[in-house]
């Protein structure tokens, strides 16, 4: 799919093959340009389970669109949100859930997880999140390191997580492609892969890359080296893109020439006329070209405000868009700049200080990031513990903002872990809010989700009841925990 879009994009940009679609009557070219990147060879095989229609009745509903509805119903049919409102009627055969006193939200989405690539148990054999052999590895894909048996997927589901982005780690300047998964049991990652979600590109600022490589007396060993590293990589990608554009022009010229010849029925020297040879594929640069065309969304681990500003300039220098700064400890210092650039800040509620670049962390960061017009704050985890209670993290962030004098309603705060991460991941048309037609990714909470006592009672993925606290699975979901004495204890 990416490949097809790249090709179309190139055609439009160069004008080289613009005449092909414009003249549908013309003879088909005999040579089709090889796409810069072929259609995804690792496609999603995710199948939504058969879902019974469900009517959730009488709940406090936070829709994720900024609206709160009291004593409202949510109707799920065919795996989709059918309706949200009052006094909805249940279709025949529908399961009806009395949710009085309960709160209902969209399924939570974690934009920053390493489940599967740094799974439990954290043994050496499971360290699949950092290809720390070179600072620039856009050729690696986190999905190729995801172990679907990580017990952390189930505990995240019990915390209401229905989708998450699994990223490579932050050892590298450019760590590789990230994947968005549905939180469903599976024996292959493809069966969890969120259908049609764009891939992400993980990049990292600051201390981690320069520590990892500087410690080996290699570049980068400074923040200067970091930026030089990104710039050279993207400069190479520009050159690579130009090679492909040139090739596409050659194919177009070849076809044009070929067409004229066949029109003239002059085939004498056709044998000697070899079609153009495509450039040698470069998996690293291919990914970076994908980032520049916007097919791959850029997610940058970046703590300090000054470094985020540098990365914004870098993105303009090379023409890519940054979806979100992750960790963004100092986002509150440049909340206006982030909002003006349409970049989200994905942050923790209160973690700080273990590194120098985390020294200025404050508990109001998320609330302040959310404050300017167009601000996009996200509560993220980067943790197999934090992902189990993103709702509590949001509760902390909300209450600290209120204590600082801001007005933050629950219907606003819920967006930090539903609609906003969906936007950063490019799946906002599909999930992240309770709007008719969206995937029925839904959580029923035992009360306000922003409480330390909040528990997800029922979690739906595409309308299917994926977790029911009243009827927990009799056995652990992870094969790893199966048959382990005392393991897989139910919540």
């Amino acid at each position: 799919m990416h490949g097809i879009r790249y090709l179309l994009c190139c055609a439009v940009l160069t004008g080289a093959c613009a005449n092909v679609p414009a003249q549908p009557e013309a003879k088909k070219p005999e040579v089709a340009a090889v796409p810069i990147e072929p259609a995804n060879p690792y496609p999603s095989t995710y199948q939504a389970g058969a879902a019974t229609a469900t009517l959730i009745r009488g709940a406090t509903v936070l829709t994720g669109t900024g609206t709160r509805l009291d004593n409202a119903d949510v109707l799920i049919a065919n795996g989709k949100i059918e309706a949200v409102g009052q006094n909805l009627s249940a279709p025949g055969g529908a399961r009806v859930v009395d949710a009085s006193g309960r709160w209902v939200t969209p399924g939570l989405i974690d934009v920053h997880s390493h489940l599967g690539v740094y799974p439990s148990p954290g043994v050496n054999a499971h360290g699949d999140g950092n290809e720390a052999t070179d600072p620039v590895t856009p050729n690696v894909w986190s999905e190729h390191g995801v172990w679907p048996q990580d017990p952390g997927f189930q505990t995240a589901l019990e915390g209401g997580i229905t989708a998450m982005q699994i990223l490579p780690g932050s050892a590298n300047l450019i760590g590789g492609r990230a994947v968005t998964l549905k939180n469903v049991p599976a024996t292959t990652y493809q069966a969890m892969k969120f259908p049609s979600a764009p891939q992400g590109l993980k990049m990292a600022c600051g201390e981690n890359p320069k520590r990892v490589y500087g410690g080996q007396s290699r570049a980068p060993s400074t923040r200067m080296g970091n930026v030089a590293g990104y710039r050279q990589a993207f400069a190479d990608a520009q050159d690579y893109r130009e090679q492909w554009r040139k090739y596409e022009r050659e194919v177009a010229q070849y076809n044009e020439k070929h067409q004229k010849k066949s029109d003239a029925k002059d085939k004498e020297d056709e044998e000697a006329d070899e079609p153009p040879v495509p450039p040698k594929r470069d998996l690293k640069l291919e990914t970076l070209v994908g980032a520049m065309t916007g097919d791959i969304r850029v997610h940058i681990h970046c703590y300090r405000s000054d470094e985020m500003a540098i990365m914004l300039d870098l993105s303009k220098e090379f023409g890519f868009k940054i979806a979100a700064f992750h960790h963004a400890i100092e986002a509150y210092k440049i909340a206006d700049l982030l909002a003006a650039n349409g970049v989200c800040g994905a942050e923790w509620a209160d973690w700080w200080g273990s590194k120098m670049e985390m020294f200025d962390g404050i508990q109001e960061n998320i609330a302040f990031t959310d404050l300017p017009q167009g601000g996009c704050a996200i509560v993220h985890s980067d943790s197999d513990e934090g992902i189990q209670r993103l709702n509590q993290e949001a509760g902390k962030a909300m209450s600290r903002g209120i204590r600082a004098g801001l007005t933050i309603a629950p219907e606003r705060a819920i967006r930090w872990l539903t609609a906003n991460p969906a936007r950063a991941l490019g799946i906002e048309q599909l999930t992240g809010t309770l709007e008719p037609g969206k995937m029925a990714d839904v959580v029923i909470w035992n009360g306000t989700p922003f409480s330390v006592y909040a528990l997800a009672e029922q979690v739906f993925v595409d309308g299917q009841l994926a977790f029911d606290r009243a009827n927990p699975p009799p056995q652990p979901r992870s094969d790893f925990l199966l048959g382990q004495p005392g393991a897989g204890a139910q919540p």
Partner: protein, 413 residues
């Protein structure tokens, strides 16, 4: 004797410049036999809790605070931490939690005489960050780092009011970290940990003058000897089988064991209750991070408490965000622990475990006046401390983080 006490108190009062404080109309969580007292007054004088009751009158010159029903609890335990011992974890010049001799395995030396409290800096920015969230004391725990030893050394409780001489007497403890994570420090086997511990004890009991490859210096033997006669030893351990070995080992050598971690402590809860062995645990630990903790589960705290085991909450390797310990308690409640037991596991229980029960952890007459007035449920993540007192003095409710907050909020608005 009486005179001595009086002089000591006077000294204290002078030091603390302790003006009396009357907190009126609070919901007082005594964490003592009286339970929760509504609409109750608490009088703080000379750094201590002087009176608890209704309609108390303010002594001359006392500050009066109207609680208006807000919750008043004892100051909270910040868990095992390196607050004031490490400023930025990854910066070696600011991180003093562990001694690292980098000796080859065959020349390993143990330094039980290492006492991490000698690195404590009360002016660390971590201290106010913790304090304004209601943490009034913590136990500084030495770390077993790579190149160090699994017998990490000694630590102790410190008060977080910013005084230089912050160590609380009776709380000094020895820290030993066992299990798979220490294999690299015990010649590749957890059995090697028991082998080396036995060797250290033999050296302590009957030092040999001639052996070149000894684990302990004379100072180390002296330090270890103190713990063999009933000293408190905190064992970092997760696996049920190893917890049982710890209990037996401590019994054999006359140590008072405390389990730290204890992911599988619930498996041996009855034995721990019988032997009166307390557990310091992270109530959020429910994943098998290691093969030692395969049985980790969210109701560990509830199961232990139900079995009669004394528990207290702590995070591990978390000093900057020590304040998160409250969230551990709240989650334990969501998973079956009674609320009063959860608050006790942040106050009275850790005080009991570290030998401070006579002076801290409860709201009772004569206890040190470490108190927190909350704007809501003390265990709730959306609550915050409105005012903290340590040794009867109101803490300034500011930290480097609140300064940053105020500076940048102004610019955003």
């Amino acid at each position: 004797m009486r005179t001595l006490v009086a002089i000591a108190l006077l000294g204290c009062a002078t030091l603390a410049n302790a003006q009396a404080v009357l907190i009126r109309g609070a919901t007082v969580h005594t964490v003592a036999d009286q339970g929760v007292l509504t609409d109750t007054d608490v009088l703080l004088r000379d750094g201590k809790i002087a009176a608890i009751g209704t309609g108390l009158s303010a002594p001359a010159g006392a500050t009066t605070i109207d609680a208006n029903g807000r919750a008043l609890t004892p100051g909270l335990f910040g868990g095992l931490s390196a607050i004031g011992v490490e400023e930025v974890s990854l910066e070696p010049t600011t991180a003093d939690a562990g001694v690292i001799l980098n000796a080859p395995a065959f020349e390993t030396q143990w330094r039980p005489e290492f006492d991490v409290t000698a690195a404590y800096n009360p002016r660390s920015v971590l201290v106010p960050v913790a304090r304004v969230e209601g943490l009034t004391w913590t136990v500084l725990a030495p770390a077993s780092a790579e190149g160090g030893t699994f017998l990490a050394g000694q630590g102790a409780a410190v008060t977080l009011d910013g005084r230089y001489d912050a160590v609380l007497s009776n709380s000094r403890s020895l820290f030993i970290n066992l299990g798979g994570n220490s294999n690299a420090l015990s010649a590749g086997s957890r059995a090697g940990q028991w082998m080396l511990l036995d060797q250290a004890i033999r050296e302590t009991r009957s030092p040999s003058a001639n052996d070149e490859h000894v684990l302990l210096h004379p100072a180390g033997r002296e330090a270890l000897a103190k713990y063999l006669g009933g000293g408190r030893v905190v064992f970092g351990v997760a696996r049920a089988a190893e917890i049982r070995r710890v209990v037996a080992f401590a019994k054999r050598y006359g140590m008072k064991p405390v389990i730290a971690g204890g992911a599988e402590a619930w498996v041996v809860a009855d034995e721990l209750a019988r032997e009166k062995v307390p557990v310091l645990l992270d109530a959020l630990e429910n994943l098998p991070y290691t093969f030692d903790g395969i049985g980790a589960r969210l109701d560990n705290a509830a199961l232990l408490q139900r079995a009669g085991v004394r528990i207290a909450f702590t995070q591990f390797n978390e000093s900057h965000n020590a304040r998160k310990v409250r969230q551990l308690a709240g989650n334990a409640v969501a998973h079956g622990l009674p609320k009063d037991a959860a608050l006790a596991a942040l106050t009275a229980q850790p005080a009991e475990i570290f030998g401070l029960a006579g002076e801290r952890g409860r709201i009772a007459r004569g206890q040190v006046a470490d108190l927190v007035l909350w704007n809501g449920d003390p265990l709730e993540v959306t609550s915050a401390a409105d005012q903290v007192w340590i040794a009867g003095r109101a803490v300034e409710m500011r930290s480097r983080q609140t300064e940053l907050r105020d500076r940048y909020l102004k610019r955003l608005q």
